[in-house]
């Protein structure tokens, strides 16, 4: 983009008009506002949330202190996000490859648009669909998993009668993650140097071998960061989980039973209405924990992207 860059202002600029000064000041102010807003997020969450770390014991029931209260929630958050990613990542890579290398060129753009539509559907509608349509539809599948695979701890059962399980929530989350990871992976796949691909083809590689030899090595860091951004989305998603899961504070790997751990976000959403000020502080404190976790994940993703870009420009 350096071609279109404006030339830097000369140091010995003779006239500075008041209009210039005001306009530049406004622009700088806007940038500072963003900094202030983000600092505000930390500060206000901390001010309101810190009392939640040491609230009266009965607030944390059935746990007794903050960390044993938030522990199962963190576990549930990570479990739901991991289930979602395990389902979503293979599909995203497949769809991204489909758009960048397999689909006929004329339909690739409309298809990419359709996948982006998945991202445009509001999360509450996914929750509605997950709770009312997907959960009942998954009941036979859950029974089948229990009958045939119950030796795996994930499917230990007893199978849910409502279908509102961690597996269902994970699938809904996966559908919400797919457009994000697909969009980024697709961009990276499409940027593979044409010459690498043609060289592989010229050496007699089939299309799949070309993708393995030329596209995947080039796109690895991009795909990793796409997955991490998807993870960030899955960790922070609220409504879909809150509307699908009926939660109890347990730590279990069981994906198909009726007792499921809540996630941090869904716990906040479903307990908010009847919260006393003390409880409110506790919930805000859990929000702070969630913020820290997603911040770390996103930060790692950006770092991977940055490293990848440096490698490419080398």
């Amino acid at each position: 983009m350096s071609v279109t860059a404006p030339s830097p202002p000369r140091a010995d600029k003779p006239v500075v008009r008041p209009g210039d000064r005001i306009f530049a000041g406004t622009a700088r102010l806007a940038a500072l506002t963003i900094m202030l807003a983000l600092a505000g997020v930390f500060v206000f969450l901390a001010i309101e949330g810190l009392p939640g770390l040491s609230a009266p014991e009965n607030i944390y029931a059935p746990a007794t202190d903050f960390w044993s209260y938030v522990g199962p929630l963190v576990f549930g958050t990570i479990l739901a996000a991991v289930v979602a990613l395990v389902i979503a990542v293979p599909f995203s890579i497949g769809v991204a490859l489909f758009i960048s290398h397999y689909a006929p060129a004329r339909v690739a753009t409309p298809i990419a648009y359709v996948i982006d539509l998945l991202a445009a559907v509001p999360s509450v509608v996914y929750g509605l669909w997950g709770g009312l349509a997907l959960a009942p539809a998954l009941r036979p599948a859950i029974d089948w998993l229990y009958d045939h695979l119950s030796f795996i701890p994930f499917f230990a059962g007893p199978p849910s009668v409502t279908g509102r399980t961690m597996l269902t929530a994970g699938i809904v989350l996966a559908i919400m993650v797919v457009p994000i990871t697909t969009a980024i992976s697709r961009e990276v796949f499409a940027q593979t140097p044409r010459l690498h691909e043609e060289a592989a083809m010229a050496l007699g590689a089939t299309r799949w071998e070309m993708i393995r030899l030329a596209v995947f090595p080039y796109a690895r860091s991009g795909v990793i960061s796409a997955v991490m951004l998807g993870l960030g989305r899955a960790l922070g998603e609220t409504m879909a989980v809150a509307m699908v899961l009926s939660a109890t504070p347990v730590v279990t790997l069981n994906l198909i039973s009726d007792t499921n751990p809540a996630t941090i976000a869904s716990n906040i959403a479903s307990n908010y209405k009847e919260a006393s000020p003390d409880k409110q502080a506790v919930l805000i404190a859990t929000g702070l924990v969630l913020f820290a976790v997603t911040f770390a994940v996103n930060f790692a993703a950006r770092w991977v992207i940055g490293r990848g870009e440096r490698n490419l420009t080398r």
């Binding site: 806007a30 940038a31 900094m35 799949w208 071998e209 609220t238 911040f295």
Partner: protein, 366 residues
């Protein structure tokens, strides 16, 4: 290839491979028909549901073609064909939830939407009836307020990043912070707005304006990103021509740079609005829920469409005695979902049209 050149055995293998038989063009069709037939037979004999039959047919075709290829063409071609069928299957599977969801929302929602649904609120409604009037207005007002807050901040930040702050420390920090802001979970944005207003007004505060603040926190990074990208696309020739005429920098930005990038900026803003208009969690936390119309952003709880869907879903009421079927709240939730999706899709479409109409006449990658 002439026989006088000494050839290594490997090259013979390659030439031999080239002569190997390939699957005919109609192989895919044949396998698909066979798979459908076998799956149909199994489905009929075992009494499965048609969906299970379809899954079986696709699985059979996805395995059958590579198997045939393995027998006829060898391992490498078989792997290639298998990967191709996996990629196509992945695409097909991802389409299923989208089609299913849209179809369900339209099917269940279209019967609910009528004049009463759009013009009545939920005050004193027990059982069926009532509507989304209050939620519709809440969504419009809160989203509008969020847009009014975030468009100037986002746009000016983008102008700063592109026109003024190039390479400065503040610009680098701002770019990083915008990245961080993109990753803020929506519920954390809601909690932030809540903490802010609780600190000012006391713990029981729930106002629509708080929702607008939370939404703008989610909207600003999108606006900054898209505007920044569009401003960078403006050729520097235009700026230099303007400077050469002695026009001050700020007037150059206002009169030359912004109008050139206007289409892209509007597209970005509309997409950002369509993104935040469906946000539920922050509004649930800070704007609350109510059954009546409230036009005042600064006082009292305010209903919005996403929160309306959530509350109709989580407390749907009871089925009247002696009747079968779903509780009345579910129907209202589907109706509101249809309205919400329609709004989002229209906004998306408008953004694409504006974007296509004003698209800069430069070559860009897909």
């Amino acid at each position: 290839m002439s026989t006088t050149t000494p050839l290594e055995p490997d090259s013979f293998a390659i030439t031999a491979n080239l002569a190997q038989p390939r699957l005919p063009k109609w192989a895919l069709l044949l396998v698909a028909v066979l798979a459908l037939g076998v799956a149909g037979l199994v489905t009929l004999l075992l009494g499965w549901s048609p969906y299970a039959g379809l899954v079986l047919a696709i699985a059979l075709a996805a395995v059958g073609l590579p198997l045939w290829s393995l027998l006829l063409e060898g391992r490498r071609s078989a792997a290639d064909r298998f990967a191709t069928s996996l990629v196509w299957a992945a695409f097909g599977v991802v389409l299923v939830p989208l089609v299913w969801l849209i179809w369900l929302v339209v099917k269940n929602g279209i019967g609910v939407i009528n004049g009463e649904f759009l013009t009545y609120d939920m005050r004193n409604v027990v059982g069926a009836g009532g509507g989304i009037y209050h939620a519709l207005w809440g969504t419009i007002l809160i989203t509008l307020a969020a847009a009014i807050i975030s468009i100037p901040i986002g746009l000016f930040t983008a102008i700063y990043l592109v026109e003024y702050g190039r390479g400065s420390r503040l610009a680098r920090v701002t770019t990083f912070l915008v990245d961080v802001m993109t990753g803020i979970p929506s519920i954390v944005a809601g909690l932030f707005a809540l903490s802010l207003f609780v600190l000012i007004f006391g713990p029981a505060i729930r106002i629509g304006f708080g929702g607008a603040v939370a939404l703008s926190l989610l909207m600003i990074p999108t606006v900054v990103r898209s505007s920044e990208e569009m401003l960078r696309l403006v050729p520097s020739d235009l700026r230099e021509a303007s400077y050469a005429l002695g026009i001050p920098k700020w007037r150059t930005v206002v009169k030359v740079v912004l109008p050139t990038a206007l289409g892209g900026i509007i597209t970005g803003v509309v997409l950002a609005i369509s993104r935040v208009i469906g946000e539920t969690a922050p509004l649930l936390v800070v704007a609350g829920a109510t059954d009546s119309v409230n036009f005042n952003l600064f006082e009292g709880r305010m209903m919005t469409l996403p929160v309306y869907i959530f509350s109709q879903y989580s407390s749907p009421g009871v089925v009247p005695l002696g009747q079968e079927g779903d509780p009345p709240g579910y129907a209202r939730a589907w109706g509101a979902a249809l309205v919400l999706i329609a709004i989002v899709m229209v906004l998306n479409l408008v953004a694409r049209i504006i974007g296509a109409y004003f698209a800069p006449k430069t070559e860009r990658r897909r």
